[in-house]
Symmetry: C2
Subunit: 427 residues, 2 copies
Amino acid sequence: MKQIVIVGGGFAGINAAKELGKNKDVSVTLIDRRNYHLFQPLLYQVAAAALSPAEIAAPIRSMLAPFSNVRVMHAEVTAVNTSDKTVTTSIGDFSYDYLIMACGAQHAYFGNDTWENYAPGLKTIEQATEIRRRILTAFEKAELAADRQDVKKHLTFIVVGGGPTGVELAGAIGEMSRYTLAKDFHTIDPKLTRIILIEAGSSILNSFDEALASRATRDLEKLGVQVWTSSHVSKIDDDGVEVDNERIQASTVLWAAGVYAAELGNTLDTEQDRRGRVIVEPDLSIKNHPNVFVAGDQANFSHQTGDPLPGVAPVALQQGRFIAQNIGRDLKNLPRKTFSYLDKGQMATIGRGRAIVETGKLKFGGFIAWLTWLVIHIYYLTGFRNRMAVMFNWAWSYLTFRRGARLIIDKSWRMYPEESQQEQNVS
Amino acid sequence: MKQIVIVGGGFAGINAAKELGKNKDVSVTLIDRRNYHLFQPLLYQVAAAALSPAEIAAPIRSMLAPFSNVRVMHAEVTAVNTSDKTVTTSIGDFSYDYLIMACGAQHAYFGNDTWENYAPGLKTIEQATEIRRRILTAFEKAELAADRQDVKKHLTFIVVGGGPTGVELAGAIGEMSRYTLAKDFHTIDPKLTRIILIEAGSSILNSFDEALASRATRDLEKLGVQVWTSSHVSKIDDDGVEVDNERIQASTVLWAAGVYAAELGNTLDTEQDRRGRVIVEPDLSIKNHPNVFVAGDQANFSHQTGDPLPGVAPVALQQGRFIAQNIGRDLKNLPRKTFSYLDKGQMATIGRGRAIVETGKLKFGGFIAWLTWLVIHIYYLTGFRNRMAVMFNWAWSYLTFRRGARLIIDKSWRMYPEESQQEQNVS
């Protein structure tokens, strides 16, 4: 029986596993260092205190429990050896006949690694709860500050990067300050809250139609978000940011400006692009190794349009399933197919009742776009319970303007005194 | 206007603040180092992956937002100076005319402080998610272990302490292993899972009627929990525990065996009992300082029965409200009243459909007891949204045997490499 190893339980990995789970001629091992699959498109909702982590995450093990030929390993993969056909992990080596790499991407700071301490990115649950902690703490500090300048600094939120994640984060902070938190504070004036969305390019949401991007900009401004395009961040420190040599004092700086593919791609010994993505063949395998595939955010597939496909969930999902099907064709001695992305469109949400949708020639914004966004995201959200819980939370927060998950949780578990001291030194 | 300072936003503090919020002759400052009020009776459900932290916690600020004379300070109180009538905090000093101390308690290890590293207690959200991480990780490790002895060690769970918290934790782990996780693992046999509840006294749940405690023991045994009474833990290390000189190998040891009142009580310079609780007068003030009150788990009130009142939510709630009313009487020059606890009874839950209830002469167990427990807990759970979300989660988990919050979240946020290394050294 052919051994298939899948590294990563994101959209690509899970969908490859589910497809291969139907094929009883193969034995599948999915390895992930996390025990859960994360519905990344809604991660910003955790950062914005609207959803709890468990509402957008499901245990990989229970998602794949119906497939008796799929085993799930909770371990960290450290290297791939394509000549031996093995992957090395924290719990030993695994041999494969076919390997599917689907390790995703992480935030990148373009050589300014120290910025990470001051401006967290949004890729993991830990980062999301940390961002939530920082946002809520900033309001608490503002309430306590005596000096007007300090209040202003605590109530200034900088979001770097005007893609969908940056737009969604900035919009969500705007809503929190204007509606959710407004009544909870007796001292500070929520109108002082400044949210600045900084984009280096000439427009936010540059993959969208220009008119739609303008609409999103107007919607953001209604929520108190200033959109600064063609603006370059030259420095980030504990006092704020420097934008085109102007200093802006801010307690909270968030990073949504760029990603780098998982470093495990380096061990494949094949060509990568400047963002670390592995260049793949038309069938998503890598050069000289037809039994090794790369999918999702970790892959650079440029055969369709000349440009790499975007790092979004539908691409990963289709690629994972496609690879599984091609392996099935291999085993039946049928020729492989060439991957082709079926682009159903794109969307971004700005806030309650505000979104933009672009599908084929159809382009629209406003409430109907937001409903479309909502229905599609709930539909794709994994697992019945999560769908219901999220729907419930959204209905509640829509009707009441309140957010349920406003907890400031400590960055680390403060049981060990030595750990806690260490942490205070770095934070 | 009289300045009233409340330290702590638990059941006592919140209820004192709400009561004082109605009295427009006072200005109230509630100080807590957390931004949320925690519904502690359901904390074990977070540890058992059934509820998310946000479902049992609500922002103190929004709970008290309706009261314009109550301000909330997110800060840590470090000392009380009764002669100056000030409290010292991380953000400066606060003067008071009346002080209400309601700082609660934390787990205590009776002089064996190193046990804390191996056997976490269950008092905070961080501890609950850490216990959740340990339980889920133990099953993951068991699935990967090659050696039968290792599998057994990973599938052995020790709960130290047979009070309500220990019983609830042990029962919840029993349910997880028997129902929730059973179908998710392909390699391990859930029947190997051993849960041992260790109690030094002659019976678990010793505050309950003997027949009810026996019923709870039988119910626990049906869930695979072995109940060891009259057993003494003499050692806890990374390999397991020693009970009356017998070694039991276990990956997961949890502590529910004793509490010590918040250390801030020491700065009051008044009599404390051996568990750190402040001895209070019949009106809940402290000796020689009639304007300083102590309530809840931090107080030792023995005037009613000769024994200190138990550290449960209803006592704290009634005491907080009572102190607020007595302050009101002071301001109207009326004589103070003497506190009297209205004991409505006690209950403990063992698992799905199993609980025991004791109220006055009425004593019953089983499904009706569990429904009673459920209705009362949902009723008291703070905030409309939480009540609904918890009800929904319970209905879902009752019908499907699944648990929604099965996430293994890292102990600390691994953004800083130095922090992460430090952590690996200690864990």
